[in-house]
Symmetry: C2
Subunit: 444 residues, 2 copies
């Protein structure tokens, strides 16, 4: 049992690699392209990685380049990647929590140290059930709306509904519409199902599970759940207000909409920027100050053990609590009525600073590789890839093969990096028989 | 005694404000400008803040706009600001260390808890003596060189030597030469005195003092000294190599120089970018990848309790050690044979992340205020102001009055912020009679 449960920690990165390799091979086949030719290796690799890592960046025009076979492959890869990360990360959290002797809220035997194969199977089935139910419901609403209001033929409406439902729940980011959601950004029947699916998938199973189980007693939630849920709500409000203020009068985005349209388009864009990846506003025509806002939101990302990427909402707000405690001169960092272990603080710090370093390094690499690219565009693209968001200013198509390989690597690292890093750290903590004397250097 | 020693903590920000107010008034006078007119308030405020905070950003052409009276004012303000921060920060460190019951390496009675007025006076005199000796020596070398090799008249050579010596040691960044050091970037007799003065002033008195006192026994140094000294050496080498690689073939900077010229100009630019503020390369014509490198080096900055700004070398490398320990799964963060207190780790984290937040907020503010400014330029300018570096791409002149006031505020916060914050935290730590139960959320 123990050996089985240690597997996911190592299996997640390998499983993702295998899915990417298989997907690359299949997408290279002539059946996958509308021109019936072999897709070059790097483009197929980019697309497969983008799908499996649920990013949604694209070097070709998704709706015209691929055949239905190719698009089904992308759908399957997205579904495999999304479910893979949901189940893999949840299992890893179980294993790590067990190893650390933490209370285990995800299983029925919450207070016992041991858990069996049956529990894990039940948990995985519950996750798969949640994904399936969400996607079926989303497909139904989207397909119905496309059929009735937009005169799509029934089969086409169903296919478009299914494709976007899978992308939405898995935070996949691909779209069959060349302008993604821009044309639909004032239609709540299209936007809201996708927003709700994106939020559900991007909140992560541990938080979702606890909210469902104990929604009447939020004070009893685990700290990670509190941080994720209240943090996500905060960002949903703050990002919405910021985006609305920045874009209100922009004639190229929502400037010409009525107020309901402005609210819906902005709400939708803000909800999917962490890190669903559709765009409800034209990312090429935003106000200048909107780009830093979107980059920050992408960087923060969604919930732990979710289909969203980024440093995670819990990491961001945990660090905010650390800073707040420091500024107030509090000896402990407390969230609600819990003291945060220094190990968690160090972990959050490591995730955040290594992510900053990777984004900076990736941006510099992209600038060196690409003649004449503007800095903010490179930063936007790299952040989008690393956080598996999939938004793009211009197109990743502009960056050439070395740039594509850089973005491919960033998508893979961004997807499996934090999880692998976090679990490897938690499972390999060394024991020391001696400690050096403490010193308190004054820095800053 | 205790009351006297708690004063500096509050006096430093107020003293800087007073010096800025006085400087602004004096620089507004018609005698200060070559056109004999009143300088507008915001421009005088900008210049006075830039001088007192030892930044060196400028909204007018320093050498032509100001009269000798104006330039002497700038020199005096720079000297007051530089000495003020050296002595103020050193005193604050003493007070904080005493409050925390830390071993006190700066005073003779290192092992006793009590120290008297005589000790402090001796310490302040030692700092002033170091500044004076360095500046006299630098003036002599610079003036001699300008007199002999560049045919400056004796008086002019002395004035130019003195002006740049004061700017160099205090990391002030103003220059009487319109292109700063670019024309002299291949002359070691001009560059090296300024580089050495910049490094001395930018290392900070606590580290300098310990290096001088115990240069044979580096293993006995305080952790802060080790981090500052070895960290600075690392950055001197790494920044030099990076800058050389990026600019080697750039025809607009060092591309046309012989190899000695390339080495000297690059070495000089790298040494003064953290955060001396002269430029030995034309900052408007650097390679694209050089800008992120310079921004990173400015952000890291120099030593604690020095005339340099930034988050400080010790903060940066302390965080690197935290991450390294986390990646290796070590329960403690150790530097040499000392375990780093979690309080210091939290302090470093707070300084670094609040600085990132301020730089991002300042950049967004500057973008919103200025039509058509490019992001990297706004980021460069804001980083330069906040870290009191004084390098500029284009000119701060381009940003208009709201932009100038933003940069003015950033220079002031960047100069006194970390010190005030750090000491206020250290002196106001609360005692709690109860602790909440610990929880270890898994983030990332
Ligand atoms: K995505
Ligand atoms: K400076």
């Amino acid at each position: 049992m123990r050996r089985f449960l240690r597997h996911p920690v190592r299996l997640v990165p390998l499983g993702f690699l295998a899915a990417i390799a298989l997907g690359t091979g299949l997408l290279m086949l002539p059946w996958a392209t509308s021109e019936s030719r072999y897709t070059p290796f790097t483009e197929a690799l980019f697309t497969a990685t983008s799908a499996v890592s649920v990013t949604g960046l694209s070097v070709v025009d998704t709706s015209t380049y691929w055949t239905t076979f190719g698009l089904i492959m992308i759908t399957v890869l997205t579904q495999v990647g999304g479910l893979g990360i949901l189940t893999g990360a949840t299992l890893v959290i179980l294993v790590v929590a067990r190893q650390l002797g933490l209370r285990n809220r995800l299983l029925v035997q919450a207070e016992t140290a041991e858990f069996g194969f049956g529990d894990v199977r039940r948990l995985l089935l519950r996750i798969a059930g949640l994904a399936l139910a969400s996607e079926v419901l989303m497909t139904a609403i989207l397909a119905g709306r496309l059929w009735w209001a937009y005169d799509y033929p029934f089969g086409r409406a169903l296919w478009y509904g299914l494709f976007h439902a899978v992308q939405g729940f898995n935070n996949g980011g691909f779209s069959l519409w060349p302008d993604s959601l821009v044309s639909f950004s004032r239609d709540p029947w299209i936007c809201l199902p996708l927003v709700i699916g994106t939020i559900l998938g991007g909140l992560g199973f541990p938080a979702l599970f606890e909210v469902v189980r104990a929604w009447r007693r939020p004070t009893t939630w685990a700290v990670a759940t509190k941080l994720t849920v209240w943090g996500s709500l905060t960002l949903l409000v703050a990002g919405f207000v910021g985006l609305l203020a920045a874009e209100w009068a922009n004639p190229n985005t929502i400037g010409g909409y009525d107020w309901q349209g402005k609210l819906l388009a902005t709400f939708t864009q803000n909800a999917v920027v962490r890190t669903g990846g559709f765009n409800a506003l034209d990312t090429n025509q935003l106000e200048e100050e909107t780009y830093p806002l979107l980059i920050a939101l992408m960087f923060i990302g969604g919930g732990s053990a979710s289909t969203a990427g980024g440093i995670k909402v819990s990491t961001f707000f945990l660090l905010a609590f650390v800073i707040w405690a420091e500024l107030r001169g509090e000896p402990d960092v407390t969230v609600g009525r819990s003291r945060i272990a220094t190990a968690s603080q160090r972990q959050a710090l490591t995730v955040a600073l290594l992510s900053v370093a990777l984004v900076v390094a990736g941006t510099v690499a992209l600038i060196v590789m690409t003649e004449g690219v503007r800095y903010y565009r490179a930063l936007f693209e790299v952040t989008s890839a690393f956080t598996t968001t999939g938004l793009s200013v211009g197109s990743p198509d502009d960056y050439g093969t070395p740039g594509h390989l850089t973005l491919t690597l960033l998508m893979y690292i961004g997807r499996i990096g934090p999880l692998t890093l976090g679990s490897a750290i938690a499972l390999n903590t060394r024991r020391r028989l001696y400690r050096y004397p403490e010193e308190q250097p004054i820095v800053g």
